[in-house]
Symmetry: D2
């Protein structure tokens, strides 16, 4: 399990969400409240959009809580759209290549959840990645494999449909293999203009997902970053939302 955060709206310093709030993402790296694992110390990453269509990215294998570089970057980078993630590894190595957010072209992707019995299923999911994206497979996580496969299924045109298609196929593979552990997919992704977030699991127990409209923009989080819990809305199991930078989020169903 992991914790993540996405923002789009008026340009703000990354620190305003990543490190400053009382229950900021960096605080969650040491003391998550709503995760199975309180400690999310197996690496971290931030991705942000600036003047280019492709995002910048900084990730490291150390815990977020002690990384001075992360603090400095968050204090000096202002962005209208950024992602941040602290990782709790579930079976795969702690390496930069396994850190979220994953990046491909102008897309960023973060995942909280897992493909049950991944080490048995990995080969079959990797086989779904199209040839032209295979060189982009740098790590060993289920998350990156899902992302690259979705990219190959039209993430640019119909991103929700692309992920649904991938998840259905993985679920079919799991069923065919007799795997009973669940497929859980609480995730968020962006093409640099819109942000999507979804919450779904084959066992109806997806990790939590909240959102809020702040004065400046939309915030999507694994768990609230501040004490104003009433101001956060839970994304329902089987639900999702999408928003343009500066626009109102729209809900949709995801299954």
């Amino acid at each position: 399990m992991c914790r993540f955060l996405a923002y789009c709206g008026e340009p703000v310093l990354l620190e305003s969400l990543v490190s400053t709030p009382c229950h900021s993402l960096i605080e969650q790296s040491m003391h998550a409240s709503e995760a199975k694992t309180e400690t999310n110390g197996d690496g971290f990453g931030v991705g942000w959009y600036s003047e280019r269509s492709e995002p910048g990215r900084y990730c490291e294998v150390r815990p977020a809580w002690s990384d001075e570089n992360l603090q400095s970057i968050c204090s000096h980078v202002r962005s209208h759209l950024f992602f941040a993630h602290v990782r709790a590894a579930t079976g795969t190595a702690v390496s930069r290549a396994n850190c979220h957010p994953f990046k491909a072209g102008r897309f960023l992707f973060m995942h909280n959840g897992q493909v049950g019995d991944w080490c048995h299923l990995r080969r079959r999911v990797e086989a779904m990645i199209p040839d032209h994206l295979y060189a982009s497979r740098t790590g060993t996580t289920d998350s990156e494999a899902i992302f690259l496969t979705a990219l190959g299924r039209g993430l640019e045109e119909d991103s929700v449909g692309a992920f649904q298609s991938v998840l259905h196929d993985i679920r079919d593979e799991m069923t065919a293999s007799g795997i009973r552990s669940p497929l859980r997919f609480t995730a968020t992704w962006t093409d640099g203009e819109r942000v999507w977030a979804v919450r779904w699991a084959s066992d109806n127990k997806p990790p939590s997902l909240y959102w809020r409209n702040s004065d400046n923009g939309l915030i999507v989080v694994s768990e609230p970053v501040d004490a104003q819990r009433d101001s956060w809305r839970l994304v329902p199991n089987g639900g999702g939302l999408v928003a343009r930078v500066g626009g109102a989020p729209e809900a949709f169903t995801f299954h």
Copy 2:
């Protein structure tokens, strides 16, 4: 606060204490039971004696729980005398130079505790380090400064007296500076032949320290590494013990 472990006796694989037991030191790096901070993920170190008088050392800034190198070293290095430490930083940077055990010549030293208001006192304590040892000061911790100062006060002849002398002087400096936060010193050190362990604090609240005679030798720990709690004996506040490899530990008072 930190967690540590020392062993001397029949040569055993490091893993038998560092990683195999149910509440091993690596397990304590994620879930310490008796420490102020449950997570000890700010680096770690192991030091061991082999055929040389000077010990070997491996330390890293990552958490112990995810480091494959540590697992491999612990599975393949057998030693009659070794130290291991997982760190929870209290104000100083996470760096190799700040990882315990500290090493100087044939000595190893580990500390759990702190000098209150260290950032104000640091200069005065570093001034106590003798010239010929000053080049060995590679980090910024209170622990390393205490160790090097004690080395300069006769660690080779009277190691208990050397540390007592240093702690008294630091306490005097704290008093002179009006520092009210405590000086806590639960520590263990070795010259490669004997192991000392002490538990003391200016506020009578030193971190915990336990020991046990196993079938193979003496084990000294911050907290028990297994579920047989009855088999572990608590070192009293203001107490210490010393043992030769293969010999019975002797208790002493430390104040």
Copy 3:
């Protein structure tokens, strides 16, 4: 291109070859003489056998020349059979998962060379890895993929034949794909009892490979570690050698 070193014979400290000689492997990490790239600073690794059938391993993404841990391990680990490698990356990431020697069960493997146009061929070579070894694929190098595939083709029974079979298939794939850049394979591997080393390339330009019988045992290197160049023998292009710990090396052809 990379530089490597293998030893088997009387137990010696790793430092006697890895760090002490005038042109030791650590020296070669900064100043290789016979490699295309003088600098081999993209990570390193050592693997050694002790009392277990499976070897220990320490690898890191930093250059070998500045790593205090490596120095300390080499000064304190004594082994009858060990491998060491300094890496110059050729297109794949600098990560622990891409460091040699690779380990699987009781085997170690190191490679100096490359599969031409690897990023296009990778998928097809990974497809050759058998299912039961696929979870062991942790990095993205051609070297690790060759090793795991060879493991699946009987490395335990006929290790030379297993590697030949893999290389022939890769060469066929390269031909079928119209890849003209060469397949080069200067490599060494061990099962903990015997050490094999081979030198071969599809363009007859394999990286260099030398060996020597010292007073204590057999040393196999990318380039001599000392100034006594006359004492080293070059393995011919298309040649190989195999030796048991303590036994005389036997030459064979490899193509």
Copy 4:
């Protein structure tokens, strides 16, 4: 010896100097042309000013040439004033705390050179650091000690005078201690509004220092980052220059 680069002028992406030019600073990390050591692989750092008075900073112990984070930051951070440095360690550890540029308040500082026989002189130079800056001493380099001492001698009012005063005192200490190896100081620093660069050595052999006015601003480098060598001007031994962002550089003497 090290290689560095400073820029002030129109806001540009860091990559335009750090990674894009044919002999960029990242290229110099592997193949410096005018340095004693061709390889500058002992860590690196970048510091940049954005909307705050204090600069941001990213540094790491790995070589610059293989760090994806550095590439990404340089491709996405645009600044009117930034510093970058690749390190070749001369006796002190490879650690983040020893990476340039050093930062204190709104100042950045980079140094290429060394205090002869530093390990003997260190204590006396550290003693020159004033109390209120001593907690900022995080590493063990001569460079950081010089910087903090100069800060304590009026860097804000007369920065050239402050450094001259420190260097004179260090030189006196060296003379008093009978140290014959030289004191070399090719350096650049900034308060966020002006950039200073100087070139001086006690043996008249300071490391090289060049500058150029580009279309966008002033560039100061250890060695030219492109092939247009005629466009670069060498700072004379015993000379310096200072420039405001957007202003013309003025020369001065430094001794």
